[in-house]
């Protein structure tokens, strides 16, 4: 029997199916802080990201600027999750939110790598590196995070595999659709016209 202590976030990232099946049985981690800590970590990470890629350092000014603008990301995710949870109340909503945000590990790693490139490489080197390799890695993260979220829907919300796929699609379309519109809505339509050759 190995009863070592481990980070649930890392565990979910590496073995999402096993981790979620185990974690959903525990029911621990509730309470205000327990529920808020992971969404708040996302805000902390996104605020620091803005500061690091802008200035290479973490300053209160740029952190605040980024964190305020990024606040909509976890709020949007929680909002969409609330819709999915209403029909499958397998755990309390607070626990569901906590478990969902545990699955953000692949994004955390990718964003930290992005920060590191901009913090330590020269701007030109950073443009070269992020222009090539980061897009490839982004593809990996997209697939990886989709699998993690699929496991969340399958084992936490206890959906059948086809329904988990459908709900994953709903989750992605709504959160990314709204997110992309807020972040880059000014050019989405003309870019779509260009790509589709309409």
């Amino acid at each position: 029997m190995n009863s070592s202590m481990r980070s649930p976030d890392v565990w979910v990232m590496l073995r999402p199916a096993a981790a979620y099946q185990w974690l959903v049985r525990q029911g621990a981690g509730e309470g205000t802080w327990g529920v808020a800590q992971r969404p708040l970590f996302m805000v902390l990470l996104l605020g620091c990201l803005v500061s690091l890629v802008t200035a290479g350092s973490v300053s209160v000014r740029l952190f605040a600027a980024g964190a305020i603008n990024a606040l909509f990301v976890p709020l949007l995710e929680i909002g969409v999750l609330a819709g999915l949870w209403r029909s499958r109340r397998t755990a309390s909503f607070s626990r569901t939110v906590d478990l969902f945000f545990m699955g953000h590990g692949p994004w955390v790693l990718w964003l930290l790598l992005f920060c590191a490139i901009w913090a330590f490489a020269s701007p030109i080197q950073a443009f070269v590196l992020t222009g090539r390799w980061m897009w490839l890695l982004l593809g990996v993260v997209l697939v990886w995070s989709a699998y993690v979220d699929f496991c969340f829907l399958r084992y936490v919300l206890r959906e059948s595999a086809p329904r988990a796929c459908a709900k994953l699609l709903v989750l992605r379309v709504i959160t990314w659709g709204v997110g992309l519109e807020i972040f880059g809505g000014g050019s989405l339509w003309p870019e779509m016209v260009r790509k589709l050759g309409i």
């Binding site: 202590m5 481990r6 970590f41 300053s59 545990m102």
Partner: protein, 296 residues
């Protein structure tokens, strides 16, 4: 585990303390040459929201000030309202001169409309967009004119075009772009522009346009842009722009005088502490579980 958590927290706090201490505005003396005021400008800057950028308009203005820019154009993708907020804020705080602009992002071309007040629709040809920009008293600049956009700039559009970006971060990333941007600019005599196309990553003002204007008012900057009174440098010092002004700038050592200041040790240490702290918080700071093998 408490030790690891504590160290992570301390690293993050140390990063914030050092980064905030080092967050200073670059002091730049105003430059005068040949009777002109030489203004450091970046005329292709995006802000949050709607334009794939991270900083809100007021933070954009503060960051421009920190980077020692005298004039900026805020160019939202197909809208001008964010730029108007930025201009209002900059006037309030005595920040850099802000031109209201737009990057017209169409399927066939990208164009900067500088000094306008109303959105110019992307659903029209480049020539027609240029006419509309001029009607509003603005100047039309071809944004990063890569060869894929060239067909949109037909004879009529080229006649009306006021300028083109000849220096842009993309020329350092793609060799093809390094050939194409100067080639497009050489089509006719027009205002040379160097812009960073700022989307929230990297330093604002990485590529700059030096505007030779009567003063730093919006009107004087627009007049200088219309007259082609600009000088632009690649990072190795290769210059573009009005030949007389390029000579004047060379005689006065403009390129040498305006070299960007590289981030100091404080910035690097702050960045390192911040990233290590975040990684530590992610691995050690969000709780631990005791998991048995029987569960796997």
């Amino acid at each position: 585990m408490k030790v690891a958590r504590g160290i992570s927290g301390c690293l993050l706090v140390a990063g914030f303390v050092l980064g905030t201490y080092g967050d200073r505005t670059q002091k730049t003396a105003s430059i005068t040459m040949g009777g002109y005021r030489v203004l450091a400008g970046d005329f292709h800057i995006h802000s949050f929201p709607l334009s794939w950028s991270t900083l809100s308009p007021w933070d954009t203005v503060i960051e421009a000030q920190r980077q020692g820019l005298d004039v900026i154009a805020m160019t939202g993708h197909n809208h001008v309202w964010v730029a108007k907020v930025g201009r209002w804020f900059s006037r309030r705080v005595g920040g850099p001169t802000v031109l209201v602009g737009e990057e017209i992002v169409g399927p066939k071309y990208h164009m900067l409309a500088l000094g306008i007040e109303h959105t110019v629709s992307w659903r029209q040809s480049a020539a027609s967009a240029i006419a509309e920009i001029h009607k509003q008293g603005g100047v039309a600049i071809a944004a990063h004119p890569l060869s894929k956009y060239w067909p949109a700039f037909d004879e009529e559009a080229m006649r009306g075009l006021d300028g083109a970006e000849v220096v842009h971060p993309i020329i350092y990333v793609r060799a093809k772009a390094h050939r194409e941007l100067p080639e497009f600019s050489a089509r006719k005599r027009m205002t040379a522009m160097g812009d960073s196309d700022y989307h929230g990553v990297g330093p604002m003002g990485l590529c700059r346009t030096y505007v030779f204007a009567a003063n730093d008012s919006e009107g004087a900057v627009m007049e200088a842009l219309r007259a082609g009174h600009t000088v632009v440098y690649e990072r190795d010092g290769k210059a573009y722009g009005d030949p007389e002004l390029v000579r004047l700038a060379a005689q006065n050592g403009l390129f040498e005088e305006t070299q960007p200041v590289m981030p100091g040790a404080l910035v690097r240490i702050s960045g390192g502490c911040g990233i290590a702290g975040l990684m530590g918080v992610f691995v050690f700071g969000l709780g631990r579980v005791r998991a048995d093998d029987s569960t796997e």
